[in-house]
């Protein structure tokens, strides 16, 4: 089942001064349960493409359909709500809330959804344990290593059981061991929870873990398929 479909997607920055085609006519789709890497050189449009399908930016042209619902025309506040219910985000710089513990960071999304406290407690601890940071639940982000913070960030992204997770260079700030661990955990959660995970990277080790590779250059998809064929 296709969860994301993009049609002639375009994003042009500075259209009136020096136009930059960050995304240039992408038409593609993503199936439920995919573990997909979007790869390509810096400035090829990976992050912009992720932002567009995550509803963080509006396309200049084209359409994005998520779970059969066109998001291109949604208002900002509607998009915020849509993201809350359907999309999990993992950022390159972890971006955990520094005044909250690991537990509170993960619980935060569920609290925004007004889930019952008992459910929140079970789900958060289940996720933190699964990500191997259950014993760090009450520590603040600055007390955790980069790899641990990113694992908490993945747990946060999974907390509300979103339809898919978008991760922008999630391993860029991690060493090779932490990268390996994080990707294994993400793969495990992808299999266990069936969540579609789409992430951008230019790290060859990360690409090899993906089940599908989407190669981009100059805002276009230049190759698309399994890692060994792409």
């Amino acid at each position: 089942m296709e969860v994301i479909i993009t049609k002639d997607l375009e994003k042009i920055y500075n259209p009136d001064t020096v136009p930059v085609h960050a995304v240039n006519g992408i038409s593609t789709s993503f199936e439920a349960g995919e573990f997909t890497a979007i790869v390509g050189p810096s400035g090829c449009g990976k992050t912009t493409f992720l932002n567009l399908i995550g509803g963080l930016e509006a396309p200049t042209q084209g359409d994005i359909s998520i779970l059969g619902d066109s998001i291109s025309t949604k208002k900002k506040s509607e998009m915020t709500d849509f993201r809350l219910h359907n999309i999990g985000f993992v950022f390159q710089a972890y971006n955990l809330i520094p005044v909250m513990s690991a537990y509170e960071n993960v619980a935060f999304i569920m609290e925004l959804l007004n889930r019952p406290q008992a459910e929140i407690k079970d789900r958060v601890m289940e996720l933190l344990d699964a990500m191997g940071v259950g014993d760090k639940a009450h520590q603040r982000p600055h007390q955790l290593s980069g790899g641990q913070q990113q694992r908490v960030a993945v747990a946060r992204a999974l907390a509300s059981k979103p339809k898919f997770i978008l991760a922008d260079e999630p391993t860029a700030n991690l060493d090779s061991h932490a990268t390996e661990t994080l990707l294994d955990l993400m793969l495990k959660m992808n299999e266990k929870e069936g969540t579609t995970i789409i992430f951008s990277t230019h790290d060859i080790r990360v690409m090899n873990k993906a089940r599908r590779l989407v190669k981009m250059d100059d805002g276009k998809i230049v190759e698309n398929g399994k890692p060994d064929t792409a």
Partner: protein, 408 residues
């Protein structure tokens, strides 16, 4: 919702030094403003209380047109029914009949225009505590005698035992003249009473001004001044409006109130300037708190937190700052206010002379009214909310993608 309060509380203490400095500025402003305002309002209360206690009372019944033209021709006949109605009313502290008229007082070659006040000695003492202000001789008795202020005595070069001449106009144009021995000299903190008032007993005044069974006015002092309307509504229907009128202390002390109003205006301006300076400090802190968290806010919006909730977090932070700052400020200011309420500052020397010339007691009394203290709290609260408008606006305009990518 509880998460928002928790988040705001923790955010407040992210940069402890900055928060403490901002709170210290609020605390300092609240202490200064509370004390300044307390002194200002205390001095107004004292001025009014002095005027009410020594002359007007809270309510005065007088002859029709007496207020406009204080001639004895406009005096009022004694109404024993009204007297008993007032005396028996539980709201009334004391009711004092008075006969007052302008006269010339003369001793030797010195003469001065004065206000002769014919009063019941005991009631007058009860109201104004005049007996305690005697510095020579005896307090006023029902005998044909006068007591005068020390300044007037000095001017007349008269002393206890000397006799002064009072010359004026009595009821219906009769000549009021008499020779009265000085039985006592008082020292009053209010300059005008020291210089220009001669006290005689009510009976003596009746004889001097031919005011038999007539009074200039009946001054009523209430136990609680807020009961004024209640008593007015009891008295007014009982009065023959063709003979009597009733005035309250606001009308009778109009000039004092006008002075208070203009002085109060400048006092408020001064406090306004103080708070404006503090307001900019609070604004700076809130702005910094928002600007340094733009990326965090952007991430929160990205993962699904509505901007409305983010605004609430920042508002709660501002409110926390206002509540902590103003409550600590008030807690520190209150003992100071309390101390000076029970130990008012008494001026001496030239400063005291200045007060005396303006017919004011040279005492700085601090008000203990809770409303001006509550006002400081509300001012700081409103100020903090106003100071957060611009930072809140920047959250509304946040371009989350640019901020997350570090381009804004």
């Amino acid at each position: 919702m509880s998460k928002i309060f928790l988040l705001a509380w923790r955010n407040l203490w992210r940069n402890r030094k900055r928060t403490f400095i901002t709170l210290a500025s609020i605390v300092f402003a609240v202490i200064i403003a509370t004390f300044m305002r307390g002194i200002q309002l205390g001095s107004y209360e004292k001025m009014l209380n002095d005027a009410i206690q020594n002359t007007s009372g809270h309510i005065a019944i007088m002859g029709k047109d007496y207020w406009e033209d204080k001639s004895l021709i406009n005096s009022m006949p004694v109404d024993s029914h009204m007297d008993s109605l007032i005396q028996s009313n539980p709201l009334v502290e004391v009711s004092i009949p008075k006969i007052t008229s302008g006269c010339l007082v003369s001793f030797g070659n010195a003469t001065r225009g004065v206000l002769v006040m014919g009063v019941d000695p005991e009631l007058e003492d009860f109201q104004s505590g005049l007996k305690n202000k005697m510095i020579a001789g005896q307090y006023l008795s029902s005998q044909n005698s006068v007591i005068i202020g020390e300044d007037l005595a000095r001017y007349l070069k008269a002393d206890v035992g000397d006799s002064v001449v009072l010359l004026g106009q009595g009821y219906q144009g009769m000549t009021a003249a008499g020779l009265y021995p000085i039985t006592g000299i008082f020292s009053h903190p209010l300059g005008q009473l020291n210089k220009r008032v001669v006290y005689i007993s009510l009976g003596t005044a009746e004889d001097l001004f031919f005011m038999y069974d007539r009074r200039s006015q009946q001054s009523i002092v209430l136990k609680d001044y807020t009961d004024e309307d209640k008593l007015m509504s009891i008295i007014t229907p009982e009065l023959d409006t063709s003979l009597y009128e009733v005035q309250d202390w606001r009308v009778m002390n109009k000039e004092i109130l006008q002075n208070i109003e203009s002085d109060n205006f400048f006092g408020i301006i001064m406090i306004g300037i103080l708070y404006m300076v503090i307001g900019f400090g609070v604004f700076g802190t809130i702005l910094m708190m928002v600007m340094e968290r733009r990326k965090e806010f952007s991430v929160m919006i990205a993962i699904g937190m509505k901007r409305r909730k983010l605004l609430t977090v920042v508002i709660v932070e501002a409110v926390y700052m206002a509540i902590i700052g103003s409550i600590v400020g008030l807690m520190l200011a209150f003992p100071l206010v309390l101390f000076y309420y029970f130990n008012p500052i008494t001026f001496t020397g030239e400063q005291a002379e200045l007060y005396y010339e303006f017919n004011m007691e040279p005492i700085l009394q601090v008000s203990l009214q809770p409303d001006y203290m509550v006002a400081q709290f509300l001012i700081v609260l409103v100020l903090s909310l106003i100071a957060s408008i611009l930072p809140l606006n920047s959250i509304l305009k946040l371009d989350i993608v640019k901020v997350i990518r570090g381009r804004q």
